[in-house]
């Protein structure tokens, strides 16, 4: 009995904070737009009893999902989001792995400090940090002034309001999520394994490929998912750093919601996004389970 109560607590939590909101969003996505407050119909009217409930369910349909498939804006936005998130994840891995490696190989007494430095950016507002990138990347920004100052370029580069700026923003924002799991995988690694690989005739470089990379695989997989999943739905970074041609589903969703006030379509976009994200989430969970089973 006590066990059942204990188990019930997290389930109730998930039910109240995840499932209920999701059902509300799902319900809105099946509704129709209306000039009302809230701006959709039908509304559930319990005063009319059974007939009211019947009328409510009769008013729901999949019209909005059909609409999403007819307008190519949406699937292009989904596709472009996946592409941007994928490329950004790869870039984050390429930047994050050496950092994590360096941290794991740093002297023991340095590691807490380095870890602290990685987490430190979280102590300021995410929004402010992204804004500050505008100051760095704009044509009169710090970066261009520096590059022109040392005479590397003659005229300012256009970085802000391009996809490059979005990549920079995502890499910057999600870097800690890549570094931490890889660091924890590398830190556990016994250094004598590398010595053993060298002793058995492999060069330092091949020892890295044959031993270090496979042993940090779990960290790499976890880091990639932790970056990829939230950056697909990213809205702030593309809308602040991206240009008019940066197409990401988070931005589309925001526009549907706040510019068009079309809540039902916006909800449908959100539900499809969720369905798309379920695939990598399930993959992620499976790889975590494999890692646990491997006993390491």
């Amino acid at each position: 009995m006590r066990r059942a109560v204990l188990i019930a607590v997290p389930y109730l939590w998930l039910l109240a904070l995840f499932l209920v909101p999701f059902i509300i969003v799902l319900k809105i996505s099946l509704s129709d737009i209306a000039l009302a407050r809230p701006p959709y119909t039908p509304q559930l009217d319990l005063n009319e009893g059974w007939a009211g409930i019947r009328a409510f369910f009769a008013g729901l349909d999949f019209e909005n999902f059909t609409f999403l498939s007819t307008d190519d804006l949406y699937w292009k936005a989904y596709l472009s989001s996946v592409r941007i998130a994928g490329i950004a994840t790869l870039c984050t891995l390429l930047v994050g792995y050496p950092i994590a490696y360096g941290m794991a190989r740093a002297p023991q007494e340095w590691r807490p400090t380095l870890l602290m430095l990685v987490i430190l950016p979280f102590w300021t507002s995410f929004l402010i940090r992204v804004y500050s990138w505008i100051g760095i990347l704009s044509s009169e920004g710090v970066l261009n002034q520096f590059l022109m100052g040392i005479g590397l370029i003659g005229e300012p580069l256009t970085i802000l309001n391009t996809n490059t700026a979005v990549y920079i923003g995502i890499v910057y924002t999600y870097l800690p999520f890549m570094i931490l799991p890889i660091y924890s995988a590398l830190e556990k690694m016994d250094e004598s394994l590398l010595e053993a690989a060298e002793d058995l005739g492999s060069s330092r470089f091949s020892a890295f490929w044959l031993v270090t990379i496979p042993l940090s695989r779990n960290g790499i997989v976890a880091g990639c998912f932790l970056v990829f999943i939230p950056s697909i739905g990213e809205f702030v970074i593309p809308s602040l750093l991206g240009g008019s041609d940066t197409l990401m589903i988070g931005k589309v969703l925001w526009e549907e919601f706040f510019s068009n006030r079309d809540w039902p379509v916006a909800s449908a976009v959100a539900v499809v996004l969720l369905l798309i994200l379920i695939i990598p989430i399930v993959l992620f969970q499976r790889s975590e389970e494999n890692a646990r089973e491997a006993g390491r």
């Binding site: 002793d199 058995l200 005739g201 044959l210 042993l215």
Partner: protein
């Protein structure tokens, strides 16, 4: 057979496999290895023994290539390998933690080194199969390291390091992670495999029993220097310093001043004492003579002998001759260091005491201790008489022995097969004596607080210069 006496270190013709020439290794201000010179021969099982921090691991890592010597040369077959990287040396190492690759199966772990050589697949497969058979791991080939036991992991590590057929195999505390029983079994296995493959093994250990069991020669290290290199029996019976005597096994150290024994001493000092005429050595006289010509004359250690007699000779035929296992009779120079009597329970009669040697005044008002094997050159010096507990007899009545000490039993450690008695002798010195428990414990006649007599022969101890 030709190998009846495996002692290449006594053969001036033998070419050493490894030569350390004045090797020094410093880490900053700290000198880990101090001007070390040592030869190690092919097919040897060489043990580096010492407390932690004595430099034995550094020495091994220099052989493997993980450290470079600060000064001096390390030669492998006459070629300086001091600055050759580890992946270019015909030397393999078995790590203390085993360092098995956790993401690879047992098979792939063993094949790792062979694949780096870009050998053809079937050759790799054949070699891995051979290694699996040698270490009895065939059934576990497809398991991952975390799915097998500690003892099996140890064998995988051994198989992996032997797979490339190195000229030299380094073993860093190879049995440290195993429990006592498994460790003893594995020691024999190691010796067996070393014999079968003919590889030169260098083992680093802080466990003196382990070193004595497996090694053909033991090097005792202290603070970056090798203090003594010799066969296990010589290390045990004839340590060259108080440090070695104290580090190897249990020992009683009685400090005193040496004095030349008055009678007969002058004429006999240079000649070997006649003690070798004791009954059990007579049949082997010619062999003894031959060995005496050498400076050190070591023999296979008792366990090596047992291995040969019981396990290997049925397979490979006998190559060790039947002969009594004992130290060779001492040469003139060695006289001071070689004890001979091994039966403390029935000490020799006083009239059997060989002439020559030293007397040691160890406590005021006590009779001097006789040490017929003492080096006359130590006359007048401060010396230490090192006595192994098992070489002391213990009795309730005063036995007829050259040396007797009266004392009181303070403590008894019952170990099953033997008991160690902690006896406080006159002058407050604590002495340990061991006796086999041939009687049931209830019939043991010596107990706490008893007055007892300790006795030992005139050659039971080793006289060492006090440091």
């Amino acid at each position: 057979m030709a190998e009846s006496d495996f002692a290449p270190w006594n053969d001036p013709e033998a070419k050493p496999l490894i030569q350390f020439k004045g090797v020094t290794k410093r880490f900053g201000d700290f000198t880990a290895i101090d001007d070390l010179t040592q030869d190690i021969y092919e097919r040897e099982f060489f043990a580096l023994l010492g407390p932690s921090g004595c430099g034995k691991t550094t020495l091994m890592r220099m052989l493997a290539g993980f450290e470079e010597p600060t000064e001096g040369q390390i030669l492998l077959n006459g070629v300086d390998i001091g600055h050759v990287p580890p992946n270019k040396r015909a030397v393999n190492m078995m790590f203390q933690s085993y360092a098995l690759f956790p993401h690879l199966s047992v098979y792939d772990n063993i094949a790792f080194g062979l694949r780096r050589e870009k050998k053809p697949k079937d050759e790799v497969h054949a070699r891995v199969k051979e290694m699996l058979r040698l270490t009895r791991l065939e059934r576990f080939a497809q398991r991952k390291p975390h799915q097998i036991s500690g003892g099996q992991r140890q064998r995988v590590a051994l198989a992996r390091s032997l797979a490339k057929a190195p000229k030299l195999l380094l073993l860093d505390e190879p049995l440290g992670a195993l429990d006592k029983k498994l460790r003893e079994e594995t020691q024999f296995e190691l010796m067996d495999i070393q014999e079968k493959t003919g590889t030169t093994f260098i083992i680093v250990t802080h466990d003196q029993e382990e070193a004595m069991t497996v090694a053909s020669r033991v090097a005792v290290m202290d603070e970056g220097r090798i203090v003594q290199v010799a066969t296990p029996d010589v290390i045990y019976e004839a340590p060259n310093s108080v440090y070695v005597a104290d580090f190897i096994g249990d020992v009683n150290l009685i400090r005193g001043t040496a004095r030349l024994r008055p009678a007969q001493a002058a004429t006999e000092a240079a000649a070997p004492p006649p003690e070798q005429a004791s009954p059990e050595t007579t049949p082997a006289a010619p062999v003894a003579k031959e060995a005496a010509a050498k400076t050190d004359g070591p023999q296979p250690n008792p366990l090596g002998r047992a291995l040969h007699d019981r396990i290997l000779s049925p397979i490979f035929g006998t190559w060790l001759e039947e002969e009594p296992r004992r130290l060779p009779p001492p040469s003139a120079a060695e006289t001071a260091k070689t004890p001979a009597a091994e039966t403390p329970a029935t000490p020799a009669h006083p009239q059997d005491i060989p002439p020559g040697g030293l007397e040691i005044d160890w406590s005021e008002g006590q009779p001097a201790l006789l040490a017929a094997n003492g080096d006359p050159a130590l006359d007048g010096e401060k010396v230490v008489l090192a006595l192994r507990p098992e070489k002391l007899g213990i009795a309730k009545t005063r036995p007829d022995a050259p040396n007797t000490l009266k004392g009181k039993v303070i403590d008894i450690a019952y170990l099953g097969n033997i008991s160690t008695y902690h006896v406080e002798i006159e002058g407050g010195v604590m002495v340990k004596a061991q006796a086999a428990n041939t009687r049931r414990i209830s019939r043991r006649d010596i107990t706490w607080e008893d007055e007892v007599w300790l006795s030992f022969t005139a050659t039971a101890g080793v006289i060492l210069k006090d440091e």
